[in-house]
Symmetry: C2
Amino acid sequence: MVATLWHIPGDADDPLPDTPMPPTITPLPLHLSAPFTIAHGTSTRRTNALVQIGGGWGEGALPPYYPHRLDDIAGYVRALPDDLLTGDAALHLEHALDRLPDGPEPARAAVDMALHDRWARQLGHPLYRLWGLDPADSPLSSYTLAIPASEDALREQLAALRGFPILKLKLGTGSLETDEAIVRIARDTTSARLCVDANGAWSVDHAARIIPRLAACEVLFVEQPIPDEATADWKHLRQQLPADAPPLIADESVQTSTDVLRLHDAVDGVNVKLAKAGGLREARRMIGLARTLELRVMIGCMIESSLALTAAAHLAPLADYADLDAFLLIDDDPFVGATMQQGRLTLPERPGLGVQKKPSE
Amino acid sequence: MVATLWHIPGDADDPLPDTPMPPTITPLPLHLSAPFTIAHGTSTRRTNALVQIGGGWGEGALPPYYPHRLDDIAGYVRALPDDLLTGDAALHLEHALDRLPDGPEPARAAVDMALHDRWARQLGHPLYRLWGLDPADSPLSSYTLAIPASEDALREQLAALRGFPILKLKLGTGSLETDEAIVRIARDTTSARLCVDANGAWSVDHAARIIPRLAACEVLFVEQPIPDEATADWKHLRQQLPADAPPLIADESVQTSTDVLRLHDAVDGVNVKLAKAGGLREARRMIGLARTLELRVMIGCMIESSLALTAAAHLAPLADYADLDAFLLIDDDPFVGATMQQGRLTLPERPGLGVQKKPSE
């Protein structure tokens, strides 16, 4: 059922099909406009999974540093019970989501997204409206700078991004001095607000050493400074930091609500991503739980097309920080949905996720 | 702004008003068909608060054993910011709920309910549909028997309730022997499933003594056996009970998500009520959290009209147990909404909460 040719079946403009159709799984190749380097490695392209269920669309991100591949997604979707796809099932979203089997998070995320899309289209409203959200409440999104190849490359990129209000700097070069230099150069070059993401590259001791120096550059927050394994390490890091250190946001350490509970007194906030949570419902639960626990909330993304980015953007009004820029990093995004102008997100007003195929040029 | 005469302004059949109207607060007197005795005392009538906001209706329950009165509700509603009531505010439910000031839970519950009603009516769907729920997933509701005045009165009531599939027996008579006798008589008289609610009347030692004896009567669960104060008491009780004791459900001990977190490893389930949670949104958060924590969920009620009962019934598809019978206990329910036949709940299919004023007779 995995199509081997690059072809997106159907279109969000098509009416919802009257008769149930088997779900389709299609590779969704994405080429980055520039090599993207983070502490986990360098990417020039990704292949995500596109899932279509009864007129609803979903995307599963497959970053190379997570274990799942397209075949896993296809296997998961093929094994779904038929009655998720028929009759009134489209209206009974919670019931359908309750019955999703365990499986790879990106597969569940793609199916959850397609079911939300189908459901909201059936009810005739954009998803954010069915959640009672006001798109105007969305925070400005940051724009992510990968680890630069050189100081000149960094300066060039900073110049090109003039006007972006919030920049997120990927750190974890292997040298604390280089990491700090990246932030200092950015601080001296731009008036944008800055935040940093080490993708778990620092030891607790290194993090305790560098974070106060980054604080001097007025960093908004520090994301995933240390590896994701142990809750005790987060607490240990916190104890070593001054009280006015920037907030610590957990990303790789937090996949689902269970992790939010486990880490809530060890971090200041969590980065919620659909591909980690396994979809929009769990992401919303995580956000509700984070609010109960008085944690800050970031909505983040993987390298994803406008499909998954738009799904995540529907949640942005619930967040303190948005990091939903990946569609700006890719050359061949086949979709159009949410847009971003200088960090300001605009959600489509069409029913469902509101994502369309880009007109062929 | 509190109307002194008994009059419900407007009707859910009226179109949503074009221009913002000030919210109204009206007393909602309810007469019980029979005196209702629980461990907290006896009631023959209650006066709840009816709140109307821009065409949406909400009810705040005011049981005599909670501290709030109608004037507190009126004061709270009068102080609401004007812009909760105007323009696009009706569409931006989450934003409006985020901005509700702290205040008495029944006041927040009534306002939250009215805002949900208005929002769902504006979107043109029943509330349960906007939550993606299938009413067919609702569990059967229990029917509550107050503490009987005599053994004969109990037998008479049990005979009248023939056919009800689940009966909830109120205990806490002051005598463990009488409490146990109530359950034994019920067990010998009816084939209904039984559950019990002590409303916090037992000490830990008494609870540890009586619960195994009730278990012999195949009791489904035991609700609030001990007073609500201390988490440690729940743990202490659990340690004294055999592993196969019926599940312990916390009611008075659990108001909001914070309590669910605090108690989650001391109880087996929680009774979620709108008047305690402060409304539908917090109730849904509590349910999501309880699921994450693998707790059982009951949707319960106070002595309320069909308005608040119907609001709670929209949540029933998310619950393991429903205890939504109060509208069967009152003589002068001015509303019609969800209905119940032998424990089976039926939700109205009209937009919003779907509640209407009863036609005058």
